[in-house]
Structure formats: structure tokens, C-alpha cells
């Protein structure tokens, strides 16, 4: 059981870093991280294209 979960956890990390890598190379829209995509707000779906640069600037 522990081995199975460890494999699942590691696999999810692999999926996450591939999604991040792809997103950093070619942003495909805000919140678009494959399996780990997020909603812009709790009620709305991802919508507008990704901006480049620092969100905090």
C-alpha cells in the first residue's frame, strides 16, 4: 500500500513538473496546468490568455 501511494505521489509530481515546464515554455492560458489546472476564481473557469512577466509588478 505504501509503495503504491509513493509511486502515485511521485507520478503526480512528474505530471506537475511536466505541466509547469510546458507552461513556462509556451503559456496556453491562465490557470492551464494540465491535470493541475486551476480556476481563476472559485466560480469561474479559466479564461483570459496568460500574461508574460511578473504578476506582482
Amino acid at each position: 500500500m505504501e509503495t503504491g501511494l509513493l509511486i502515485l505521489d511521485t507520478l503526480m509530481v512528474v505530471i506537475l513538473v511536466i505541466a509547469v515546464y510546458r507552461h513556462e515554455r509556451k503559456p496556453s492560458g491562465e490557470g492551464s496546468l494540465g491535470l493541475f489546472s486551476y480556476k481563476k476564481s472559485r466560480v469561474a473557469a479559466p479564461a483570459r490568455p496568460e500574461r508574460q512577466g511578473d504578476d506582482r509588478a
Binding site: 509511486i7 503526480m12 512528474v14 506537475l16 513538473v17 509547469v20 490557470g31 486551476y38 479559466p46
Partner: protein, 444 residues
């Protein structure tokens, strides 16, 4: 088997980390939170995963290879961490002789703080914050998932003993509690239904794991953490009802041994385990009174020589009668007395300042995010979850030695990062309003 599979995964993770500094940073966070070596038994046991990803991330970020332009900012939390690092260095140098874990704990703390210094430099966009929370949740919640599943599979008989990286059952309970709010945040904001199902299962299993620890402090911290989430929620009454149902379920379905253990909470004054902690607090505060500037060094109270030297000293707790003194050295069993004994009054006050600053910043983030509207609702919701984690920590760790828990320092710096987001958004919004007003005046 698991060694081979982790080895195979490194063939994907390592090249990506070398190509992309942010990926290396995420893997640095994940390996720190999961303690991968604790789960290895074969040839991968000795591989320093965390150190490898840390070196790759630090080198590539400092060399300017990150996609985000490196801006070396030192917000208030970074300054407090720097002060803590300086004080810790003073303590480790002037520690009592022969402390077995002095250098090891100092090293762990410094490594955690170095990671945190990088956080404001790297977490510059929302998707990066989201990915970071996922990496942290995948690492820190793994322990809850494993132990929660064992708890259900054994019909409630499984009793958690702890994990080498974090300590005993009580300490592991707090680590699991810190991760639960992150899972709830991800559940709220994840777009994929399948992932939301996995996260919901993770939340239930993590709560079950805390029960399986049989930790009284863990149970109180869990209750207060959930209460904080309910209070910050938009549907408070639903939260209160869920907590009441969960509590009733725990009392009805948890094993008798758990109920018996929880019943001893109200008999703390007669409890040997609790009174031994009070003695350890007396010794820790007595060390601080003798060495207010440097403290005794990391976990000085656990050294038999130091313990015997301070035997019978009441420290700051003379008003609290303790019927007996344990013969063998006892851990500080409180983050507050731990920092007091280890790093003296200066270290203690810096530690308190870090916690106070975290709560103050959380308050400011929520207030600013509310002003900014729905676009920054994510920051407000994440701040609410981080507040719940911090409540779990300050309550649960009040009776545990967990002052140098890396995850706590990461969460506090994440609060600071959120503040940078909302602060900059407010500044940009104010500038935009001013420009509009000036344009209107010029046209008028």
C-alpha cells in the same frame, strides 16, 4: 521495488530540473516536505534528493537562468528569518559542550531558511504559487494519506508511531494538520473533477491519520484548525455542522483506546506525561535565565549533563508545582520553551515575532484582497487556509518540540508572498486611478 521506481522517475525529474530552475525549485520543496529517504529501503536510501535539487535550483536561479527576472527582495519575513539565522549561529557556537544534535538541528534550520529566502524571488506569478502549493501538498500530505489508509484498512486499530524525519506520533500529527488546509484550498480551486475527488479523499484520510496518532495535542489542534476554516468560510454554519458531525463520528467510530486517551485531556494535572513536560519547561527557562543572549544550544535540555546540572531549578515556572522530576533528560515539548532554552530570550522573541508577523500579514492580505475584489479572491482564500495551518501550529506545537519544522517556515513565507501580490496589485490600482483622474482633469 519502490527504489527502482523512484530511480526511474529521476530520469524525468532530473533533466527537467536542470533545464528549468522553477521545476528544480518545486522539486526542492517536494523532497523537503515528503522526506523521500524515510520511505526508501534499498540503493536509493543514501541519495540526498533534497540537497541535489537545492543545489540545482540555487545555482540556476542565482545565475539568472529563471524565466522570471531575478529581483532580490528582502521583505519583512526575510529580515526576521535573517535575524533568526544570525541568532541560531550565535547559539550553535556558544552551546554547551557535547550536545548530540546541536550542529544537525542548526543545519536543518539554516537549510529551511535558505529555501524560504528564495520564495519571494521565484513565486512571482499566480500559476507558480499554485504549482508550489501543489508540490508542498503532495509532499506534506503524503504521510497523512499513507497513515489514513492504514487506519481504515485496519478497522481503526492502526496506531501511528511517528516518522524519523519529523519525530514521534504527536509531531507527525502536527505536520499532517499543517497540510490539510492546503488540500482544502486546492480542492476549492482545482479545475479537474478527478483531481478534486483525489483531494477530497486526501482530506478525509489526513483527518483519520491525525486520529490514528492518538495525539491529544494533535486532536485539539485539528479541532481549532477546522474551526478557523469554518469561521473564515463563506458558509459558516455548514462548516460548524460538518465539524460537529465529524466530531460525533470520531467519538462513535474511533477505537476505545483513542477515546480513553482523549479523556485524559481534562486530567492533565495528574498526568505523568504532561507533568514531565512542565519539568522540561522549567529546565528550559532556567537555561535561558542563565544564558539570556545565546541560550544553551540546540536541544540542550535533552543532554543528560545539562539536565542533571539544572535538576530542581524552577526557572520561570516556580508557581507550578511538579510532584517529581524525571531521572532522564526530557525534550522541551513546546516550541516556545524550545526556542527559549536553545537560543535564549533573543531567539525566543525573534521566533515570537515571526509568528506574530505571520498573523498580522494574514490579516492585511485578507483585508487588501477583499478591497481588490473577485480577481484576488484566491489570495484571500489561500490566506484563510494558511491562517488555519498557523492556528494548528501555534496550538499543537505549544506542547511539542517542533520549532525548526521546515514546513512551518515555508508557510509563513508563503503568507509574505501573498502580501507582495496584493500589495503590488493595490499600488497598481491606485496608480491607475490617479492617472485616470489626471487625464480627466487635463481633458476638462
Amino acid at each position: 521495488m519502490r527504489d527502482l521506481l523512484v530511480f526511474a522517475s529521476m530520469w524525468v525529474l532530473m533533466p527537467l530540473a536542470l533545464i528549468n530552475p522553477f521545476v528544480a525549485f518545486l522539486l526542492w520543496a517536494w523532497t523537503a516536505a515528503i522526506g523521500l529517504n524515510s520511505y526508501m529501503y534499498g540503493f536509493m536510501l543514501a541519495v540526498p534528493f533534497n540537497m541535489i535539487f537545492a543545489i540545482i535550483a540555487m545555482a540556476s536561479i542565482l545565475l539568472g537562468r529563471d524565466a522570471a527576472r531575478l529581483k532580490l527582495t528582502f521583505p519583512r519575513t526575510s529580515v526576521l528569518y535573517l535575524l533568526l539565522a544570525l541568532q541560531a549561529t550565535l547559539s550553535v557556537v556558544f552551546a554547551y559542550d557535547g550536545l548530540p544534535r546541536n550542529v544537525e538541528l542548526y543545519g536543518n534550520l539554516i537549510k529551511a531558511l535558505i529555501f524560504c529566502f528564495f520564495m519571494p524571488w521565484v513565486l512571482t506569478q499566480r500559476y507558480r504559487v499554485h504549482a508550489f502549493v501543489i508540490a508542498l501538498a503532495l509532499g506534506s500530505s503524503f504521510h497523512g494519506l499513507v497513515e489514513g489508509l492504514k487506519f481504515f484498512a485496519s478497522g481503526g486499530d492502526h496506531r501511528i508511531q511517528g516518522l524519523a524525519k519529523f519525530g514521534d506520533n504527536n509531531q507527525l500529527a502536527i505536520v499532517i494538520i499543517l497540510g490539510i488546509p492546503l488540500l482544502i484550498y486546492l480542492y476549492q480551486y482545482s479545475a479537474h473533477r478527478l483531481l478534486r475527488l483525489v483531494l477530497a479523499a486526501g482530506i478525509v484520510l489526513s483527518i483519520a491519520a491525525v486520529i490514528a496518532t492518538h495525539s491529544r495535542g494533535g486532536f485539539v489542534a485539528l479541532f481549532l484548525m477546522l474551526l478557523t476554516i469554518a469561521l473564515a468560510s463563506r458558509r459558516k454554519w455548514l462548516g460548524f455542522v460538518l465539524i460537529a458531525v465529524g466530531l460525533a463520528g470520531a467519538v462513535v467510530f474511533a477505537p476505545d483506546s483513542w477515546s480513553e486517551r482523549m479523556n485524559t485531556i481534562k486530567e492533565a494535572e495528574n498526568d505523568t506525561s504532561f507533568m514531565s513536560r512542565v519539568v522540561a519547561w522549567k529546565v528550559s527557562s532556567a537555561i535561558a535565565l542563565d544564558r539570556p543572549i545565546t541560550g544553551g544550544g540546540f536541544h540542550a535540555v535533552q543532554s543528560p549533563d545539562v539536565w542533571n546540572a539544572y535538576r530542581g531549578r524552577e526557572g520561570l515556572l516556580a508557581f507550578w508545582e511538579t510532584p517529581y522530576w524525571p531521572e532522564t533528560a526530557y525534550a522541551a515539548h513546546s516550541v516556545y520553551f524550545e526556542t527559549l532554552g536553545d537560543m535564549g530570550f533573543i531567539g525566543f522573541f525573534i521566533f515570537l515575532a515571526i509568528l506574530a508577523n505571520a498573523f498580522h500579514t494574514l490579516f492585511r492580505v485578507r483585508r487588501s484582497a477583499r478591497r481588490l475584489g473577485e480577481e484576488y479572491a484566491w489570495a484571500r482564500d489561500l490566506a484563510a487556509m494558511l491562517a488555519a495551518s498557523m492556528v494548528g501550529y501555534v496550538v499543537g506545537a505549544a506542547a511539542l518540540s517542533l520549532a525548526y519544522l521546515e514546513l512551518m517556515y515555508m508557510l509563513v513565507m508563503l503568507i509574505q508572498v501573498l502580501w507582495l501580490f496584493v500589495q503590488n496589485a493595490e499600488t497598481a490600482s491606485a496608480r491607475s486611478h490617479r492617472d485616470d483622474a489626471m487625464r480627466a482633469t487635463a481633458e476638462g
